[in-house]
Assembly symmetry: D2
Homo-oligomer: 261 residues x 4
């Protein structure tokens, strides 16, 4: 079974900044999709902010197993309606991988329920990612640590809920640390945040980073059918109770009614 | 040190439904505040939906250690601006206790990042709460289980993230179970959801329920000064790095700039 | 790739109790292995307490991807040396599924670090398992609840650490609840505890139970190579530090030494 | 209410190594007890490996709210019987704070169920601890980071179960990172591991470290009465079931019997 990945790119820096355009001529999303398509069992396509409905239509998301999200300069330009749609699909079982500056994307903040803030510095300093969870599927084939010679620094405290698992922790040359790979489950959807990926460095060409992305797509994939009624709160009429009961006491609702929301 | 609790009540059923009005003549919020005020070291006041800014002004929240939230029929009438303000205070360290149908409140859904949905039945059936975490501070002084003879049923699956701790699990006469007491941390704020409390039953007069509420207020209280910059993402200029580094490689940002959001 | 499952059965009741012997003529382990062998991609064999080294030799465990454990009457007869060996393989990446009364097995208690105790009653009462984590891989293909008409009761509080995920919660006819399906990670090994399976009832012939077991084997399987040095604490000599440092201050150890344990 | 802390010191290096003896003339345990006794509401005493029953008699533990544990060279000399006794008290509600090389103590490994291994280097290098959980009670009054100019390095992967909360993460000059402050609950007992504290450096005189220790004692203190039956698994006779049931099906046990272990 081939996993259908969709790489969403904001595609703003690539159009406006020569450094980024030269580094990622097909866009950051294009580079990431190439990495995924080179892996067994993954088929990746792309969508961008500039596409109709940002390329994230109901039809497209329904045909997506795992969505990857890179954004930075234009989080506010992403339509709330599209964010709600993406959230519904994640809750229904679509995997979501949030990359680097996507920590401030509407979709990540909405699913975390926290500010997702951090400290940062753009100095092209050395980052070393350490594995905190040996043999985690997202780290398959990786050594206990790997380096990126030039990266932006993100520092703790990172404003996220306690992760389900902490997979990577980064060391920075300038003296900071950061939880660089963390997992969550939201509804039926697996969510992974992965820190590296500043647009002015060739991070997405790094073999270890590409391996993490491929592993993460496989990890995030939930093969079960997408749940559609993710917000339903069904009433169970008294006569359908699994154990026979007789209604007692004063009532507010009619049987089988909709309830308040 | 006295803990300053604020009990927020939607105060709609109390005005429109004779059963509820007779049961809670001072409002559900009034009954809960009475329970808290009878405990050592807690001083409780109330606010309602109908108050200016729902009674949740910046000044009021700044003087609140723990907020309790009961709502049901009018979640949609709560102003988004007030919800954002409450969220900011929780992230900064204010405790939050969400009660019963408050599972569908804007504030709880926003902090969880999930639908918080469930199945339900209003049949006045027996609920038995079991302690899953012995000697948890929220369960101080409680037996391993206690019963509420008449309650609304809430059933699994409950659409929440994995809790930090599962304190109570309910058994229902009609055959369902429910994670009735769960803890979370969001930013510096402790969050507790407690299931019982349907408005047509005398749940908030129950001695065990009142004990849980008092315990939960003490547990949720974070005595540290409220954090005010909960959304900040400060830039660390290269020259201020804790370890001496020299900026390398291409840059997108000016030093000390604001970054994108 | 076929997952190699090994079903370990204590095989005591099957030899001594006519009810159990009639119900499980090939042993409980044999019945479970049959269920697994009927599934795609799983190949199951069995081992018992009475085998040499309980059938859990180094060679056998090295060729096992996922171990299932059913024991009840003879936990104390399992050799500590074998328990240590099993623990080492779990920490190195072998999956472990602990069944029913295996909550009191030496291996489960050792990996949990807690008593794993509970309340219990053998009355052939109805158990209903509710799904708390929709679309969890262990629940693939299952409805939101399923029933076992006759089961032993296990009740909370269950003396385990907070699970990574709570997959199932049971309702019992006599009034109790129980966290019936919980996941953990220990080292590189995935661990799942599944409650049902009292020896005097035909639980392991139940289609839903068999589906859970097959799903759990797939979930617990870690395809990475088994880690062998699970207890190592390597010294990193100063001259091999990833960043150049100069040793300072008084020392207790020789460079490259073994350290204390 | 005064919290009764007991600081357990191995007291081996202090007797055999001049550097350590000069640095900690009253023992590492003595220095830590001094720090605690200088704090409001804490009363600390000490015990050592050389004391009868290592100073950890039933009577002493019964009068202890929080136990702190420093050991390094002689983990193997601690009697298994005493370790079992300490574990029983932790499960019953006694707080436990494990310090530095105590990661390899029998009690910590037993409660974690994992190897608790790590990489290490004794080079007197700089350690910087970052706060990952803002306003956590254990970090009360601390800045977002603090430094220890000379410390032993401990590096990831750290062989522990996923923590309940990650409070501190360390940066090391030589290029490693480490989860330096992690919380767990085991039974009714709160457990905190805190990394710094190599015996040849003056770490336990550092004001920030001393503050963490005092905070941690307050956090770990569970004021509820110690649970004594931490290993019990009581049978609930059919006639005492909370909901009326009639025993059905074949049975293995006599009513009210002890069950197997």
């Amino acid at each position: 079974m081939t996993i259908r990945a969709l790489v969403w790119g904001e595609n703003v820096h690539e159009q406006k900044n020569k450094v980024v355009a030269d580094l990622y001529p097909d866009g950051i999303h294009g580079c990431i999709a190439d990495a995924l398509n080179a892996a067994d069992g993954i088929s990746a396509t792309t969508a961008t902010l500039q596409d109709d409905e940002h390329g994230l239509t109901e039809k497209r998301l329904s045909a997506t197993d795992v969505l990857l999200w890179w954004g930075h300069a234009a989080h506010g330009d992403v339509s709330d309606q599209v964010v709600d749609r993406v959230a519904r699909h994640v809750l229904g079982g679509m995997g979501l991988i949030v990359l680097h500056s996507g920590h401030f994307s509407k979709i990540f903040k909405a699913l975390m329920g926290t500010p997702c803030n951090l400290t940062w510095r753009e100095a092209g300093e050395r980052e070393r990612l350490w594995l905190a969870a040996r043999n985690h599927p997202i780290a398959a084939g990786l050594p206990d640590h790997f380096e990126l010679e030039n990266e932006e620094m993100y520092g703790e405290p990172f404003g996220i809920p306690e992760p389900l698992e902490t997979v990577f922790i980064s060391w920075f040359q300038g003296g900071e640390v950061f939880r660089s790979g963390v997992t969550y489950k939201r509804g039926a959807g697996n969510v992974f945040y992965f820190r590296p990926g500043h647009e002015t460095y060739p991070t997405y060409y790094d073999a270890n980073v590409r391996r993490v992305l491929c592993n993460a797509v496989r990890w995030a994939h939930n093969p079960a059918a997408r749940i559609v009624d993710v917000y339903d709160a069904p009433n169970v009429p008294v006569e359908n109770a699994l154990e026979p009961i007789v209604a007692r006491g004063p009532k507010l609702h009619e049987d089988g009614g909709d309830g308040f929301r």
